[in-house]
Symmetry: C2
Subunit: 134 residues, 2 copies
Amino acid sequence: MIKRVNHIAIAVPDLELAAETYRRLGVTVSEPQVLPEHGVRVVFLEFENVKLELIETYGEKSPVASFMRKNPSGGIHHVCFDVEDLQSTSETLKDAGIRVLGDGPPKIGAHGNPVLFAHPADLFGVLTEFEEPR
Amino acid sequence: MIKRVNHIAIAVPDLELAAETYRRLGVTVSEPQVLPEHGVRVVFLEFENVKLELIETYGEKSPVASFMRKNPSGGIHHVCFDVEDLQSTSETLKDAGIRVLGDGPPKIGAHGNPVLFAHPADLFGVLTEFEEPR
């Protein structure tokens, strides 16, 4: 069911400082993008095989705010896997006793594709996103 | 300098349970290996583009033990990048004000290649390993 890791997201307190730090390490870093509907500003770190995203809280109701209160210097926030079909993913998760966050159908994620999140308590402390690439 | 993500390591309290959970999600999971000199038991989750490792404490002096005390249900433990040359990586890190853990030359890591670790406080809360593939 899961073929690829889509990205790993690292929450940081200062996006420009973090972007500059990774540039100094020779990583190709995108320009910052604001994603108001997701409550984050983001830059992408480009590697040959997988993307890392640096995310910073944005706005009043950022979903990353509580994580940053617990981890003020930052930390790995979530892992995202590509899946072929979110509906069957949702059923497989439920069959395995893994709770899907939120209610109802998958939402549109930061990349414009449908996504769902599994409860970190059911996956060994790891907030896990599943994305169905178009 | 950094071309690829080598792996992401997730520390778990029960390796067999975690392996079985990922198998139920359709992930190809290796047999467990004990790495006594690294204080962990490990399984590899195989994806098309990058490896995830599930690690469990092993023995009296596991380097993962303090992480598990703070995160008893588990969590993402570290990210590992491939680099071409660890010596120049070490110098680049120092020039960027990022502390290298331990003293002296790189050690041999869990894959038999030389590795070094950067201090998580200097990389936004993320314990970061650098590995020089042979």
